[in-house]
């Protein structure tokens, strides 16, 4: 973890919708209670179970949110910047309920929780934007959750590939930022099943695989697979 340390929220070009509505005085409060950090691929940003007094704002890169389950670690979601993560720690206990790990080189700003709370209390529009953002996450997670439960592995993998292409990379060809084992934790499948299913999609000509690089060839067909489960 590299520390650029002091940041300037006034001139920051990757500000969240929420921060956009702050006034000069509030920006000053934020600026003096905010520190930047840079993470390399596979570096842990925060760890489930550890104490924290910060909320993280992912500015660039890609982050996985993951959590220990009864039998293994599971990737709850992939977070594309810009996005706050760890807001639930505004709650009483201040213990991280899940872990966050960089999947690509990632820049993060940490905001002191009490400052975040102060801004919510002071500025209703800020609070409103924060609520919107959390609610958006909630709905997305409900959808993902139902898809994970009801689709079988082909559909889940197609979902993941389409998500990476459309939402994360905005390109039909990209380098997989996760190992196949991670991908398994994300779509709830074993590593072997991921390998096999990827192989199947490749054999059927729906995707091209060259090392880490994946190219979606037949997106319509992938969408159909995603729909039918």
């Amino acid at each position: 973890m590299d520390l650029p340390g002091q940041v300037n929220c006034e001139t920051c070009r990757i500000r969240s919708c929420a921060v956009e509505v702050l006034d000069q005085q509030e920006l000053d409060i934020l600026k003096t209670n905010c520190a930047g950090a840079v993470y390399a691929r596979n570096e842990r940003i925060f760890q489930q179970g550890s104490l924290t007094s910060n909320i993280a704002y992912v500015k660039t890169g890609l982050v996985k949110i993951h959590k220990n389950g009864p039998s293994k670690d599971q990737i709850l979601k992939l977070v594309k910047p810009p996005r706050f993560i760890g807001i639930p720690t505004v709650l009483g206990d201040k213990i991280n309920n899940y872990s966050a790990t960089a999947l690509l080189p990632t820049t993060v700003c940490f905001i002191v929780t009490s400052t975040f709370k102060t801004l919510i209390m002071r500025n209703g529009r800020f609070a409103n934007e924060v609520i919107n953002s959390i609610c958006q996450d909630e709905l997305t997670f409900y959808d993902r959750s139902i898809n994970q439960m009801q689709k079988q592995i082909h559909g889940r993998l197609a979902d993941a590939l389409l998500f990476l292409a459309d939402e994360i990379f905005e390109a039909d060809s990209f380098d997989l930022p996760l190992s196949q084992s991670d991908l398994g934790d994300y779509i709830h499948a074993t590593r072997e099943s991921v390998t096999r299913t990827l192989g199947r999609l490749k054999a059927d000509g729906l995707i091209q695989v060259k090392g880490k690089n994946i190219k979606l060839i037949e997106k319509d067909m992938l969408r159909k697979i995603s729909k039918l489960g």
Copy 2:
């Protein structure tokens, strides 16, 4: 749906933490933009896909939140009052993303969305309480989601029974408020598997079943099953 209509938030004895922090003027705003309703068992409170301009506050009873998936309806969560439901509709589209149905006779207050937003904007403590509540839900749902994915059916059913006993009814003997088919939608299993698994728990003497009534006999054993999946 029966309509007691006009309610009085000032004297309401089932107020949320959030409403507790409102001042007199704000309570007046709330009161004039709030209507009560009573629902019978299995009555729909709101329907996925329908337009809405209200947020619901469940005062008494029990509610299931459910949503259409690719292959079937799924119960996302059971909501024990007092609790807001449908806050995500504060977002732009104003279309319900999921359905809510009463499982027991249930009383609900509807708050006009714009009023809710006004209160968030005006009163930082209100906003803060709302955020706390949403975050709490989020964390609970993450846990449930991981448990659903990683445990097998005995563990999931044990979870559900312990949840009903400990969280909902606060008693080891209770009448199941869901059919076995619903219970299947809740723990992601078929109705047949629920029947069989309940039968197994009964045969093993961990629970007693008399019609709709369930009595947990060996809670420690159930907890062990829940843990081991």
